[in-house]
Symmetry: C2
Subunit: 224 residues, 2 copies
């Protein structure tokens, strides 16, 4: 069933990881997949561009339909395989609304993380300012506190309610990314608990970024 | 039916506008609404913060459930009122996948537009660089060309297929925003055609930003 799907991915990329978790949760193992290297520029290769004209990973195709936006891909898999594997969007209206809210809110977290983690990569040397780095770090700190607060208010250990859902599929990789880049485990106890609990979930364990197993993380976020 | 919904909004904000278009399309007129002023800082007021802790507009509540992420709100309205008003997500799998892809792709368009339109607002004076402005404009130009290309390839005059869909609800305000800020009508003929056709759609006409009717636009994007 998964044989008509192709995923070109990069290790450690939260958008790629989301799709891989969703595929595991929906019991869609056996899809065609290829690990590419960002460092070697393989995300700009012809085989990627043919699926994803933005030259980004993931490049994901379900049958003939490209679904390169990782959240779109996860939604699609849940809609198409609604009754297979884990139910990622409940029928309950309130539960669904909470999940939708968190799914779209992840953009703010990703944007603010990237502005700190990739500052030197995104901003040429002559344009860098300590004041900008400070502002970006403050914005990320406020954002992480917001998510810590969300987890303080939920009771089931998941982001939206008592069950693992599409919100976790989509947000977990962005949270794991923070720890990979040095977020303090002590400063955000609920977030850390969430992170440590979910890292042992089979779908997440099976798709853990291979490069993260082989190389140490960084400490860019240690003062967030 | 719409009486249990509350929308606090700002004129000209694409996220606010999305929700208003979705409400019109789903025949959900009569909701509680209040126009607030960004200039007066009313988006940081207590009544907003109670619904949206980020202090941003829209602040939208459906019953007791906050749905401040505009795309989440639109999805929710379509799921909850599936058989009422315009069908915004088709049952057809391929059509749905195309819509999902465009819906999530809008983030790239919004981010790149904002980095040009709000450069002086986001970047303090001492941190501004002509080289950054140039780079941001180039990135936005490439992005707008991508959307022009999407519209060249569709046949029905809408973003995803032959019918007005959730992709149009969500992306149209971001495209109208480009023209409000001076995008050339000549340089992007398909995008302009799309913009001009949809501006007369009843749901869009009924929700056109009031401040846009009263004040002239700007020309920040004239060389994009």
């Amino acid at each position: 069933m998964a044989k008509d799907m192709t995923l070109l991915w990069g290790s450690g990329s939260p958008p790629c990881w989301r799709i891989m978790i969703a595929l595991e949760e929906k019991n869609l193992q056996g899809y065609n997949q290829k690990l590419l290297s960002f460092e070697k520029g393989e995300h700009k290769s012809k085989e990627v561009m043919e699926i994803n004209p933005r030259g980004q990973l993931p490049a994901f195709k379900c049958g003939d339909v490209p679904l390169n936006e990782s959240c779109a891909a996860c939604f699609h898999l849940e809609c198409k395989y609604k009754t297979q594997g884990t139910k990622l969007i409940p029928d309950c209206e309130v539960g669904r609304a909470q999940i939708l809210q968190r799914v779209f809110e992840v953009n703010a977290l990703v944007e603010k993380s990237s502005s700190v983690i990739y500052y030197n990569w995104m901003v040429p040397e002559g344009e860098r300012h300590d004041s900008a780095i400070k502002r970006n770090k403050e914005a990320l700190t406020a954002e992480v506190k917001l998510w810590e607060g969300y987890l303080q208010k939920t009771s089931g250990g998941f982001l939206a309610g008592k069950n693992f859902s599409l919100a976790d599929v989509i947000v977990f990789p962005a949270i794991a990314y923070l720890y990979r880049f040095g977020l303090s485990e002590e400063r955000y106890p609920k977030l850390t608990e969430y992170y440590k609990n979910l890292m042992n979930r089979p779908s997440i364990k099976a798709t853990w970024p291979p490069t993260w197993k082989e190389t140490p993380g960084q400490d860019i976020l240690k003062d967030i």
